[in-house]
Symmetry: C2
């Protein structure tokens, strides 16, 4: 193993100079810096992570807590995870994977052993039991998701309430008068998943404001067909549907087609989901983007800011962005 003293010897300087040349924490002459860099290249030097963590009190590792609950869409979660890893690398950090099962013990462990410098937690519930611990632990953390109270926390999320509203308003502008929201499986609402509830609120509020008739229906992945039938039966005037449930989107569209409805002429469909999901549907779907990429990057950026001691806002909500893809159209009055 090549160490800092080897580099120092080769460059004809002291180890501390190498360290400063690398970190930039003290001025080093251009000439010396170049010599050091050359020595590093020639020897293939890489600082030992453990030694660095010990002496520098920074591990350059972040923990990422990924959810494994039922009713979540795994590819969407992975999208977040990948964007967090990518963003972390841009800041010269690595990412440690923590599963939900590990729970509080896992958080304690990585914090107390100084294994990680900070923490990104996904899929936060409205009243998440881990929040008190998170506030107590003195480990900088950023949540992806918005709990009931953000006091003392740092959260980023899509503004799901506004996203629900945006979908309804889009349909309202197109003349629709009767809309439905097809949401996540019931369990997701039961356990208080923040974003799910917020979409419902936004959807309902916007529909009420616009004087539209509206329904909300949770939906299991396998029940797309049944839900489609139920909607048409109970809400015969229905012409607009908002889908907030990735795995159900395509089956639902298929079910409507099988029931003889054409999209968008008979029925306008819009969704809240990652662009990839909306694009790759057989019928491309007009949707509000779930910007995993951007959310993950924001979360990491905020975490880095906290690590550098800067103050950050308690909550950052991204405004919804709607992309038309032809699955919505003007209501054709029958």
């Amino acid at each position: 193993m090549v160490k800092i003293t080897d580099v120092a010897r080769r460059a004809g300087v002291s180890p501390s100079t190498v360290s400063y040349a690398l970190s930039g924490k003290r001025p080093i002459s251009e000439e010396t810096r170049l010599r050091v860099e050359e020595a590093i290249r020639e020897l293939g030097y890489r600082p030992h992570a453990g030694a660095r963590a010990l002496a520098g009190r920074r591990s350059n590792v972040l923990a990422l807590v990924v959810p494994l609950r039922t009713g979540i869409h795994v590819p969407t979660v992975m999208g977040f995870a990948v964007s967090v890893v990518t963003a972390a690398r841009r800041h010269d950090h690595d990412v440690l994977l923590l599963t939900q099962e590990e729970g509080e013990e896992g958080l304690h462990r990585v914090a107390d052993t100084a294994l990680v410098d900070g923490l990104v937690m996904m899929d936060v519930q409205l009243d998440d039991p881990r929040l008190p611990l998170l506030r107590a632990l003195d480990l900088p953390a950023v949540l992806i998701g918005l709990p009931a109270s953000t006091a003392g926390l740092t959260c980023v999320d899509l503004d799901f309430r506004a996203a629900g509203e945006a979908c309804v308003e889009h349909l309202a502008r197109l003349g629709h008068r009767s809309v439905a929201l097809v949401g996540s499986p019931p369990e997701v609402y039961v356990r208080g998943t923040a974003y799910a509830g917020r979409v419902v609120q936004g959807f309902t509020a916007a529909a009420d404001r616009a004087g539209m008739s509206s329904t909300v229906l949770p939906c299991e992945p396998a029940d797309a067909r049944a839900v489609a039938e139920q909607l048409l039966r109970e809400q015969p005037a229905l012409t607009g549907v908002v889908v907030h449930n990735e795995p159900v989107l395509e089956p639902l569209v298929d079910a409507f087609a099988d029931l003889g409805l054409r999209i968008p002429s008979d029925l306008s469909v819009t969704a809240i989901c990652p662009d990839g999901v909306a694009e790759s549907s057989r019928v491309p779907i007009t949707s509000v983007t779930l910007p995993s990429e951007e959310l993950g990057a924001r979360a990491v950026d905020l975490l880095m800011k906290k690590l550098s001691g800067a103050a950050v806002p308690e909550s950052t909500l991204l405004a919804p962005r709607m992309t038309e893809r032809g699955s919505t159209g003007r209501r054709t009055v029958p």
Copy 2:
């Protein structure tokens, strides 16, 4: 932060004794050990990860390289990842997430900085470009997947060839004479994904041995319907289908149903996929398990063995296990 000297003082022993009590690397009297343990509990001591890594030359962290290629089934991949994390925790290790994008540079980094003790790599291609590096790096590694040559490596996988054979033989025993394999998207074969090709080999070999007529058809996620139609058109005598493509399984079954075929009376369907996928299909599917749980655990166990200096076999193939779920039946001769 509470450190080992604090514990030592409290327990009335020296730091080295605390260390030995913790690691068990030297005999410590029962009585002393208890006193140390109590001090640890009272103070809430946790050894500093960096210090431990530096002094002990072990970071107690593994790297997990997860694939992000197109055409893979993300929930299946996550199943592996979770099982690796869980298994690693049983061995007191944490898991660092490396994405494919990081590529060779990522491997180099975690190895050279001693960030991790070992490495688990998923989704190995037949002729994976990372293999030479992996052999060169002196970082213990285990692959999930079986490349063309396992020389100098350690690999675990389901015996996909045998799995393909098992499916055909199952259908043969039930009297079927004409079978088809619906596989992954073409790109997966093109890039030489090991398991995909092996299933084809096993499937074809077994069908030939049994004197059955057989076809192999790759399939994109969206093309289930088209593939079903194509199969019936080109192979009218078809009565048995093997599906090796998780996202396509359910749509394909639906497509056959729509085309008027009853399962299993008109058509027997079997699959190679995680049990969860086979069970949660609308029609539960007789399948060969893809034992993510077990494979992940095995991979980690093998890695731990390597870390302790023991010799391990170059390749470990798990025998296929078939579970009947009612989607296959005796061929009813027309």
